[in-house]
């Protein structure tokens, strides 16, 4: 059978994956209905924004999630994880996005993918911790907020058996919820990866004030942080990051697809109930047709998402291409339905008390994360058309 034929018809999303996803949906429907989410993160704007308090999250809910084994979804069974395919993980993350779940889930899964690609013993030890319930986040972005892994966040130097890390990682997602920082650092000529406990001596977190109410973001400062060999995850950090990159894109894309679907369904529901000029506003094509266009865009993103997950799972050469296509489509779909969800809710959609802004802001954040559509397409052009001038 040729390689081409080996792509499973169902994206590898079989009965087990469907069951896992259905479970996630039911669990979050019950434990995080929209009223609960609203009370949790948006009771009043002042505490969140004006006093710079970090976004609230439900640690009790998270404990249940850990018990469900979601931290270990991307950890191989050998390290105590569930070893679920990325297609299966995408299903769970879609549900997290659909419920705008405040949690370190996406960050931890992303760090897991990178550690798995690193493949060292040190990495496997951290993966075991994650499977056991630890959380993690990637500290790999410099101050410019570049969207690729090539610029490491920190400087590293060897001192005896130890390595000393200095510098700052920016735009670290859900940093305050992470037990372990998986950080990239320049070590000589190479980009190395280290797994540093968030409470290690010399590590401090500086909260970003952000719009999204369902996550936190921070600058993580490393000042003379000394780590031993147990933290030295990879000498070829760049390789691990690049191999994991399509997976990271898939995770954010899945979150976007989920939140976009919530925005679509909620706005459709509003259009069926809200009456103006003695008609449900969904009667008017100026309301109906944009929602159809949004559905078409969301479906495109979702199909590309599962294709990308599947290509990643089977180690295809096209995994990066598929993932960039999916992220581009999902960013654009998210931007469009975010726009229409506010506009078509009218006056109420412009208020804090209407839930659409929670998803609007989570989506806006995810649209930018790891690069927006324009960025992904620039990279894709080099693959599909070849470099400029070639």
């Amino acid at each position: 059978m040729s390689k081409k034929d080996s792509a499973p018809k169902n994206f590898g999303f079989g009965e087990d994956e469907a069951m896992l996803r259905d479970l996630a949906r039911r669990f979050l429907d019950e434990r995080l209905p929209i009223e609960t989410l609203r009370r949790l993160v948006a009771e009043a704007p002042e505490p969140v924004y004006d006093q710079g308090q970090r976004s609230r999250w439900d640690e009790g809910l998270w404990k249940e999630i850990v018990e469900l084994g979601w931290t270990g979804l991307a950890v191989d069974e050998a390290e105590g994880g569930a070893g679920i395919s990325l297609a299966g993980i995408a299903g769970v993350v879609e549900e997290a996005g659909r419920h705008a779940l405040p949690s370190p889930l996406v960050a931890t899964l992303g760090a897991s993918l990178v550690l798995r690609e690193a493949g060292t013993e040190a990495a496997q030890r951290v993966l075991s911790q994650i499977a056991a319930g630890s959380t993690a986040s990637l500290a790999i972005t410099g101050e410019r907020g570049a969207w690729e892994a090539s610029e490491p966040a920190l400087e590293a130097r060897a001192e005896g058996d130890e390595v000393v890390l200095d510098g700052s990682a920016y735009f670290v997602q859900d940093a305050f919820k992470a037990d372990v920082m998986v950080a990239s650092a320049r070590l000589g000529e190479a980009v190395a990866l280290f797994a540093v406990p968030a409470d290690a001596q010399g590590v401090t977190l500086d909260a970003d004030h952000i719009h999204d109410l369902t996550r936190d973001q921070a600058t993580v400062r490393f000042e003379d942080v000394r780590v031993g060999s147990e933290a030295f995850v990879s000498k070829d950090g760049l390789g691990a990051l690049e191999r994991a990159w399509p997976g990271l894109l898939v995770l954010v894309t899945a979150d976007l697809c989920g939140s976009s679907e919530w925005q679509l369904q909620t706005t459709v529901e509003y259009a069926r109930q809200r009456t103006q000029f003695d008609r449900q506003i969904g009667f008017f094509q100026a309301v109906k047709h944009p929602l159809v266009d949004a559905m078409v865009e969301i479906d495109r993103a979702k199909s590309l998402l599962y294709h990308a997950a599947c290509e990643f799972d089977r180690g295809s050469e096209d995994a990066e291409k598929a993932a960039r296509m999916a992220k581009s489509a999902a960013s654009d779909a998210g931007a469009f339905i975010s726009d229409r969800s506010v506009q078509l809710h009218g006056g109420i959609g412009f208020t804090w008390e209407c839930d659409v802004h929670l998803f609007f802001k989570r989506s806006l954040h995810n649209q930018a994360l790891l690069g927006d559509g324009v960025h992904q397409r620039k990279k894709l052009a080099n693959t599909l058309i070849g470099p400029i001038g070639a």
């Binding site: 994206f11 309301v287 109906k288 078409v296 599962y306 296509m325 397409r377 894709l380 400029i388 001038g389």
Partner: protein, 401 residues
């Protein structure tokens, strides 16, 4: 398609089909073929394509799942395999698109045994070319507003009226025809016929010329044309329901049409090749980042359509069963329109050139295909109507009409 899910019979059939197509792919026709069957213009094209369909039929690649008594092979799940293999082999399309994808399945659902025996075999073999008589000057998007009248007269019906937008009408032996048999109720006053066209008294087929200057579709006038009652499909007054059956098959037809058609190159690759071959202000268009971004946007839509087709068959990833299938007509027709429009833009000054000009890129493909794309965003329910259907049937919003 993963081999694992095929039965041994189906696997064997797949191998047979692949082998047969490799050995029997027809020679390049002397006249260039159009992009879809709806644009077949000349007798030369028709003969070539009718010959090819007959050959495929004889080989069992058409009508594979139809009952033997109606000219089929009586298999199950073979036709999709055959279609996929024809598509993969990039052989010409099957000309009798209305007969295969609209008339035959509708007759199978609504016809009498006699009708099935009479009409279906010719649909499959391509011997009887069919056309569709649904559109009228006053009944475009509002299909129920039919004005063509059929009045009972003994064993016959007398038909008077005017149909438009009749693709393949100039080659058709038969038409699937909606008529008004009662002025009372808009929907319940319709009746569906299988009407003789070619050489039939009282029927005049007049070619319509498209905006491109090409012909390929027609208007058909009925002046006291007689249609035997034996050719009525289902009951008097049930025409709307029968037509809905037809449209269900039509809207899904793009997938089941079979054959590679004129598109021998992936549409994105075609745009890339054009951009490499075109200069914009001293640089190749393929080096212009804005053009590159536009091409990649199209590539993403193309891949999205492909993966939509794959996802539509994974039940666990489809919350609403009709959500993806009902998008197909809208998204595929607008995809072609946006693609060809981009081709026109990339071609720049050379987009002005007609196909007969030797400097026209790809024999003038881009502007012609762009203009022809409106055929697909207008016919069989405009894109506006498609958006209504999706908003109403899938998203459950109230009817806009």
């Amino acid at each position: 398609m993963s081999a694992a899910i095929l039965t041994p019979d189906q696997q064997e059939f797949q191998e047979y089909a692949r082998r047969w197509l490799a050995e029997n792919a027809p020679p390049t026709p002397s006249e260039r073929l159009p992009i879809t069957p709806l644009e077949v213009m000349t007798v030369g094209q028709r003969d070539y394509l009718q010959g090819w369909q007959r050959k495929c039929y004889d080989a069992g690649l058409v009508g594979a799942d139809y009952p033997v008594e109606y000219g089929g092979r009586g298999h199950e799940g073979f036709q999709r395999i055959a279609n996929m293999e024809m598509s993969r082999a990039n052989v010409p399309f099957l000309i009798n698109v209305v007969g295969l994808n609209m008339a035959a399945p509708t007759i199978l659902v609504h016809g009498t045994d006699a009708q099935k025996r009479k009409f279906i075999p010719g649909c499959l073999s391509g011997e009887d070319i069919w056309c569709q008589g649904f559109s009228e000057p006053g009944a475009g998007s509002d299909m129920a507003n039919q004005q063509t009248r059929a009045v009972r007269d003994g064993d016959d019906w007398i038909v008077n009226g005017h149909k438009v937008w009749t693709s393949l009408g100039h080659f058709a032996k038969w038409m699937i025809l909606i008529t008004r048999t009662s002025k009372g109720h808009k929907y319940d006053g319709l009746t569906y016929f299988l009407a003789p066209i070619e050489g039939h008294e009282g029927v005049t087929v007049r070619p319509l010329v498209k905006i491109t200057g090409e012909s390929g579709f027609n208007e058909v006038f009925f002046e006291d044309a007689r249609v035997p009652d034996a050719y009525r499909l289902d009951e008097v007054g049930k025409g709307w329901a029968v037509a809905m059956t037809t449209l269900t098959y039509e809207r899904g037809a793009a997938e089941s049409a079979g054959g590679g058609g004129g598109e021998r190159v992936h549409p994105t690759q075609r745009l890339i090749d054009l951009a490499r071959d075109t200069w914009r202000d001293g640089e190749r268009a393929s080096d212009d980042p804005v053009t590159r971004d536009a091409i990649v946007q199209r590539a993403i839509v193309a891949e999205g359509l492909k993966q939509n087709g794959r996802r539509a068959r994974v039940e666990a990833l489809c919350d609403h069963p009709m959500r993806l299938p009902l998008q197909q007509k809208l998204t595929s027709s607008e995809f072609v329109q946006h693609n060809t429009r981009l081709g026109v833009e990339i071609a720049g000054a050379r987009s002005t050139l007609y196909k007969l000009d030797e400097r026209a890129p790809e024999e003038g493909y881009w502007p012609l295909a762009y203009m022809n794309s409106y055929g697909h965003t207008i016919a069989a329910g405009t894109s506006e109507i498609q958006r209504n259907i999706l908003g109403e049937r899938v998203l459950g919003m109230p009817k806009s009409k």
